[in-house]
Point group: C2
């Protein structure tokens, strides 16, 4: 398969998704469960789905024996090695070229599947894609995106989520990188959240065009001129939870800090309220009544429950589910991957990148 995604990609059927069966805290049991359940689910009007489970074949076969599944839609591909959550990604991948994640990425590059889902080691997953996949024309560095809940509903699905990218794949992003992230994030929001004209913003330390480090200022000037993108300018930290933008663009370092702050913030606010007002009986009663709701609120603010984080910039799509994912979360990740393929996300991104007229990437590695 070439580095260029073609429109044919979209119409191809059935859609094959390769799944890293050995990745994640609950692998392979929960991954097998998720795949088996999806194999028997045949939603009306949806493209047929074919799943390719990659991992220790004897073990996967044995686990499948205990599940109801459709053997027509589910195959196993053997991989003899596993990269654990704790391993250092670069060293582990170099040593384990037959690991489930490396094999899964290779299967995509050989045209055997259109997208990859993994709940395993994030660094190893990103590096596997980097090793085996081709960057789209105009992409220098890829971006890992994450969704987070905001106060605003958006799109056809009345979706409370904003997208933020990059959240850790590219710590230092150049102006070109930020422009490509904006284009890719907008396409993702349009296709996955069915929000046809997502509002895209740069994260900075002030709303004015001149605010921010030089790469942010330069990206602002470029994005302002870009037709086909609904660029609303800079947003500040305070606008993130408010949901002022549908797509927030920043360097991987800043995005990682922001995302992790959001993760912990709802539980912390509740604990802080407790701490500050523990002497007031009425507040305690209110908190007790809320505590059930707060648990659900934490779920809602837990972006990992919502299909995982897409890695964007390659000729295939990776959906990285959280390491703690159980069968339900992995099913969601697979569904998002399928939707990405079925909706023509990658051709859409390619078109957007062409319009952005980005310099062609040099054939250098990405760390």
């Amino acid at each position: 398969m070439s580095g260029h995604v073609t429109e044919n990609h979209v119409a191809k059927s059935p859609i094959t998704i390769v799944v890293d069966a050995m990745g994640g805290d609950h692998a392979p049991e929960e991954v097998v469960k998720a795949a088996a359940a999806l194999s028997v689910e045949k939603p009306d009007g949806s493209e047929p789905l074919h799943l390719l489970l990659v991992g220790d074949a004897p073990r996967l076969h044995q686990l499948l024996m205990h599940q109801r599944y459709d053997a027509e839609c589910l195959a196993i591909h053997h991989a003899s090695q596993v990269i654990t959550m704790e391993e250092s990604p670069r060293e582990a991948l170099a040593a384990k070229q037959d690991s489930s994640i490396a094999v899964a990425a290779r299967l995509c590059s050989e045209g055997r599947a259109s997208a990859l889902v993994s709940a395993g080691n994030t660094g190893a997953a990103v590096l596997s894609c980097l090793q085996y996949w081709k960057r789209l024309p105009g992409i220098r560095r890829c971006a890992l995106a994450a969704v987070y809940p905001t106060e605003v509903r958006r799109g056809e699905k009345d979706d409370p989520f904003s997208l933020i990218l990059d959240v850790g794949a590219t710590l230092d992003a150049t102006a070109d990188d930020l422009v490509s992230f904006a284009v890719m994030g907008a396409a993702y929001a349009a296709r996955i959240s069915k929000n046809p004209q997502p509002k895209v913003a740069l994260l900075s330390n002030g709303a004015e065009a001149g605010k921010g480090p030089k790469e942010v200022v330069a990206a602002h000037a470029r994005l302002k001129e870009l037709r086909g993108l609904h660029f609303i300018g800079n947003v500040e930290g305070v606008d993130i939870p408010r949901g002022v933008a549908d797509v927030v663009v920043c360097s991987g370092f800043v995005g990682n800090v922001v995302l992790k702050m959001l993760e912990g913030v709802s539980e912390t606010v509740v604990r802080l309220a407790h701490y500050a007002y523990k002497e007031k009986l009425m507040w305690r009663a209110g908190l007790a009544m809320l505590s059930g709701g707060i648990g659900k609120l934490k779920d809602l603010t837990d972006w990992k429950q919502y299909g995982g984080a897409p890695l964007l910039g390659f000729d295939h799509l990776l959906i990285k589910a959280h390491g703690r994912s159980q069968a339900g979360a992995i099913q969601n990740a697979i569904k998002v991957a399928k939707k990405g393929v079925a909706s023509g996300l990658l051709p859409d991104i390619e078109r957007g990148l062409r319009e952005a007229d980005l310099p062609q990437a040099l054939p250098v590695g990405q760390s």
Copy 2:
């Protein structure tokens, strides 16, 4: 006065603080009120305080006429111009060298006062200090620090606040800058929060020493070797509200995003809870009972109420109160400035910087 702060500085008495009477949304009325109230307050065992109000002298005199104040401890110094909150700092300062903030900074540099308090235009205040004050030896760029509430109590005062710096004075910080911020932040926490061994951390995208952009990795290696500093390594975004560190060190760009996210976050979580659970009567009742508490929580998370943000790195201390400050908040800012001077904060910082063995700053401007 020389660029070096001497120990004599500490013992000098009374302590003179210059106050930008024209800065802030409620200036000069609330500033005059604050100064008048402090002039008649004589806490036992405390150094005498002398306040120098800078601004439109006729107007300030007229406002003072309606206040009870001690004329022995309160003087007015005329300045014919004002820089408003909306003006572009660089242009405004260049055009208005007789503005209250420029005159106030100049009075410090002439030895007339030890510290400056302003609720006015932050950029103009920072640039005024940069123009008239001397950087301490080893400081290349200054840092604006802010306190924010966490779940942990610390120090002699059982203080729930962590300090984060820089929050916007130095967008791109080098490894040397980050090291100097760590030293200055530790001294501030020790003197102002009376936390003798504050835990200092670098904000990064992972706990490991090798995580982060190159300047963070280099600063980590340097801080680990620094005696006299309780460096606990890297913290991540999720650790910020938890209060894992007493002093969080980062570039001004990242710190600005973090601080503004914290500002909006408690109100957003509450609104989000409302939105997510509005259908559940019990949760609604719980929220209603909490709403009084939540209002107070917002105050608690509003760092602006707690004395303002210190600008560190110069031979004088600036406490930047929030633009919306009223008399109470301005009084707090003046008290913090006094405490900084009385406790020997600047000599302490100078000592720390000497131990950190930072390269001497070149005589270049700072933007």
